[in-house]
């Protein structure tokens, strides 16, 4: 086995904050599944420090535990010492990527499928049609397992895609101008959700004047440790919105939103860019934050709503600390038909590209999520991240459940207020 000595890579002021208390353990989805402390936040920090101090060498075994981390940051939310685990993880992954010889299939998956195709809308577009065709005709069976899982995640085109979600009401006063961060994956696979987001923002008094189109925010690259590429993409995104007259930038993908809110971290050694990043970050709002401003007159309770539950996307609840706004909105509209989901804040296994790179654990976490959803008796699951939607749909399908809808909160809300 390859053994590599790593140069020091941790920012001690961050890694020393961990006092090894272990309070993070049970918040960690991978630890809950494997029970192995190497798959827990405290354990991973122990490994990171070991690698950083040169006490242990980088082996495939050690790298696996770092790879298995979902990056969901549930541990950060419960850490009493305020350890910036996400930043430590990115630094570790960055160093590991540079010093590790990945096996070819793994490398192709990471470098080509995840970092290039997923974030290259035209490429993704090319791949989507045949994939949807295969799904429709049940041909995915012929694919190798990993590829099959990937293809099965791709959502079918909405049936009535001729009627675009929209919202027209003369009385709503425009209180601010907004830009829409449409996302590289979402703009291909979830165009409908993007339109719903625009409509919802309008209903809340935001005039959308510009969309970032196919631009990628760099989140996927940052999460897998490719910081230079993430930085480049962040710069493009920052420049794009600098040239617009927007008061806020609306994001409907939790992972993108959290990275964009944390752009300044990418530029700790570059004062000029850090300042530009801070400017950009201060404008970023998740769509659930916008939806909280929905006028009360629109939130009429209807009796006929089906029983509905809410899944917390990790990068929304743990990284952006947004848990109350979506619940308040849903409770106001649904009343007693809103039910809480047990373990709603335990990752569903999607985690950006995780369901592609770690299919086994992603599958286990997906089934765990499906079991919890089924137990609520809800027929609609609302969440605020497209990755979660794809993963939860696939997991429910694997569990043999056909009649539970999984929808983005923007789609759900725009329908609910019509």
């Amino acid at each position: 086995m390859n053994q590599t000595q790593l140069p020091p890579f941790l920012d001690r002021s961050k890694s020393d904050a961990c006092i090894h208390c272990g309070l993070c353990l049970q918040s960690c989805p991978t630890f809950l599944e494997t029970g192995n402390e190497n798959d827990s936040p405290r354990g991973r920090i122990h490994l990171m420090r070991g690698l950083d101090d040169g006490k242990i060498l980088l082996t495939d075994r050690v790298a696996t535990h770092i790879d298995r981390c979902l990056g969901c940051r549930a541990c950060e939310a419960v850490c009493p010492s305020g350890v910036e685990y996400g930043a430590m993880l990115e630094a570790t992954r960055h160093t590991i990527t540079r010093h590790r010889t990945m096996r070819l299939p793994q490398r192709l998956l990471q470098k080509v499928v995840v970092e290039r195709m997923l974030t290259w809308p035209n490429g993704l577009r090319l791949a989507v049609s045949p994939a949807r065709g295969m799904q429709r005709f049940g041909l995915t069976r012929v694919l190798p397992q990993r590829l099959r899982k990937l293809v099965e995640l791709i959502p079918q085109k909405p049936k009535n895609s001729t009627s675009q979600p929209s919202f027209h009401q003369e009385k709503i006063e425009v209180k601010a101008t907004a830009g829409m961060m449409s996302g590289c994956v979402a703009s291909v696979l979830f165009g409908e959700t993007n339109q719903a987001t625009v409509a919802l923002a309008q209903a809340c008094g935001y005039q959308i004047i510009v969309s970032s189109g196919d631009l990628c925010c760099g989140a996927i690259h940052a999460h897998s440790g490719n910081l230079p590429e993430a930085r480049k993409r962040a710069q493009r995104m920052i420049e794009f919105f600098e040239n617009t007259e927007t008061d806020v930038v609306i994001v409907n993908a939790a992972g993108c939103g959290s990275t964009m809110k944390e752009y300044p971290q990418f530029f700790s050694n570059n004062a000029e860019w850090r300042q530009r990043a801070e400017q950009c970050s201060s404008k970023v709002r998740d769509v659930t934050e916008i939806a909280a401003e929905l006028p009360a007159s629109l939130k009429k309770k209807k009796q006929e709503h089906p029983r509905t539950t809410y899944h917390d996307a990790c990068h929304l609840c743990h990284a952006q600390h947004i848990t109350e706004q979506p619940r308040t909105l849903m409770q106001e509209i649904l009343g007693n038909n809103f039910v809480e989901l047990p373990e709603s804040d335990v990752c569903c296994g999607s985690a950006g590209s995780y369901n592609i790179t770690q299919p086994e654990l992603a599958g286990r976490l997906g089934s765990r999520k499906a079991r919890n959803i089924i137990a609520t008796g809800a027929t609609v699951v609302v969440t605020a991240n497209i990755g979660c939607i794809m993963q939860i749909r696939a997991s429910l399908q694997s569990a043999g459940v056909q009649d539970i809808q999984v929808v983005h909160i923007a789609d759900w809300a725009i329908q609910a207020i019509q």
């Binding site: 904050a17 208390c21 272990g22 353990l25 192995n36 122990h46 010492s81 305020g82």
Partner: protein
């Protein structure tokens, strides 16, 4: 590091599955300590069994090869209870973490040992019940570990510690036998004969490994009154504590935080504690609504009578939860002040609190170490947090010495060296100061009833035990 012979690893793998045995040094370092980080030594292997039978088989394999067995839950011990002093096999119950059943009519829960403390309450609360012992680490620590250390927590002032809430449990003895101690899942409340259940609670993993536990559930109180009293001196706050208890009020919890910890907690959580306060009391009253208001008024007047600057009441459930979150995560907040801390949990009679707190501040000045305090004032259970930096050996030495002075003073004042964290490896040296040789012999004799070979969690609790360092030196001498 000594590794386990491959044929033993294979046997363990056959028992629990390959994915559930850890036997490589680079993965074992993660298990080199618990939340007590001053001493470290990696075990030779870790097994993660999924059932009682797998625990029993793993234990038999260890016994057959005379390998030490180290039971482990979530590894949140603050006294090195699960340190593998001389290597050995860690048997971690983290995969056995289910609430098996809730019996609301008999107010009982049957759980696996790796079940997290707070999960029991989560599973029981829609029946109006909860599991009362609430150690500050309750979001992570396991019921198995709570039983091993007879854990306390803020609310044990009124409700009692772990032993008062454990009806019975299944245990794998160090030779692999499976026994049930105390009330069985469908049995009555009382069992005949000596209370072996009680004897094994607090035995710090030396008597065997708990594999199932039957817990007592307690009704959730009808109402809470949670108050925050702000004082100019620790002494005033201590006097208020004594008066409240002496008046006959039994608060659900009565906690103190001193100025240094208030600052750390406020910086981390921004609750709104006054930064210039020298002491804060969190007073929680609970029970039937009727009469609670009068008790709250009484407690308030005792605080004001002892020069409290102000007494606030939590107005909403959310505010109450926020306050408890600050209290329960206070230890972690010192991570902002210092990379390492050591905490002791000595106990003194309540009436000696002012004297003890003066002593701690004197120790802090003499050793030049910061020592914030956050503790269960109602039962005189201290938690001085001695801050140090492990990269500076002189600080480590001073931290240890300061801690020892504090513990010695606890014994002198008629208290004890531990209220809830256990002896582990940390406080072994004090056992001989607190107990007579006869007491210790009796304890050892009891331990031998359960573990004649003394290979279950060895080198803990009793004076004369070997330390990690002894083994390191021994290993360096060529045979």
């Amino acid at each position: 590091m000594k590794l386990v012979p491959t044929h033993v690893v294979r046997q363990l793998e056959e028992t629990v599955g390959k994915a559930n045995v850890i036997a490589q040094p680079d993965e074992l370092i993660v298990y080199e300590c618990d939340a007590y980080t001053l001493e470290r030594n990696a075990p030779q292997a870790v097994v993660l069994p999924g059932s009682t039978d797998e625990v029993a088989e793993a234990v038999r394999i260890c016994a057959a090869h005379r390998l030490p067995i180290i039971p482990r839950g979530a590894g949140t011990s603050l006294s090195g209870t699960v340190l593998a002093v001389d290597g050995g096999i860690v048997v971690a119950t983290t995969r056995m973490n289910q609430v098996l059943s809730i019996d609301p009519r008999n107010r009982r829960a049957l759980v696996e040992p790796g079940c997290v403390n707070i999960w029991v309450t989560r599973a029981a609360q829609h029946h109006g019940l909860h599991y009362a012992p609430d150690p500050s680490s309750q979001m992570a620590c396991t019921i198995g570990g709570n039983i091993a250390t007879n854990s306390g927590g803020p609310h044990t002032l009124k409700y009692g510690v772990t032993t008062n809430h454990i009806l019975g449990f299944q245990m794998v003895l160090p030779d692999g036998q499976i026994v049930w101690l105390g009330t069985e899942p469908n049995g009555g409340e009382d069992t005949p004969g000596p209370d072996l259940r009680g004897a094994a609670i607090g035995s710090e993993g030396m008597f065997g490994i708990v594999t199932q536990a039957l817990l007592r559930l307690t009704p959730i109180p009808q109402e809470y009154r949670t108050m925050l009293a702000v004082f100019e001196t620790v002494e005033d706050a201590s006097h208020a504590v004594s008066q409240i208890i002496a008046s006959g009020i039994v608060p659900a919890a009565l906690e103190m935080m001193d100025g240094l910890i208030i600052q750390a907690v406020e910086e981390r959580y921004g609750f709104g504690f006054p930064l210039d306060a020298r002491a804060i009391l969190i007073i929680e009253l609970d029970g039937l609504r009727a009469g609670l208001g009068r008790q709250a008024e009484q407690a308030t007047s005792f605080c004001l009578g002892n020069n409290a600057r102000e007494v606030r009441q939590a107005q909403t459930e959310k505010e109450r939860n926020e306050l408890w979150k600050c209290r329960k995560r206070a230890f972690g907040a010192v991570g902002k002040l210092s990379p390492n801390f050591m905490t002791h949990d000595g106990v003194v009679p309540r009436s000696k609190l002012p004297e003890m707190m003066r002593f701690i501040s004197d120790v802090s000045a003499r050793y030049g170490m910061q020592i914030p305090n956050v503790f269960h004032a109602g039962d005189g259970n201290l938690h001085p947090l001695i801050l140090y930096n492990e990269r500076d050996p002189s600080q480590i030495q001073r931290a240890i010495a300061a801690g020892h002075e504090i513990l010695r003073k606890c014994i002198q004042l008629g208290g004890s060296v531990t209220g809830e964290h256990g002896i582990g490896v940390e406080k072994i040296d004090f056992m001989a100061e607190q107990f007579t040789p006869d007491d210790l012999d009796a304890m050892r004799a009891l331990r031998k009833v359960f573990d004649p070979e003394e290979h279950c969690n060895p080198h803990k609790m009793f004076p004369g035990a070997m330390r990690c360092a002894d083994f390191v030196q021994r290993k360096q001498i060529p045979a």
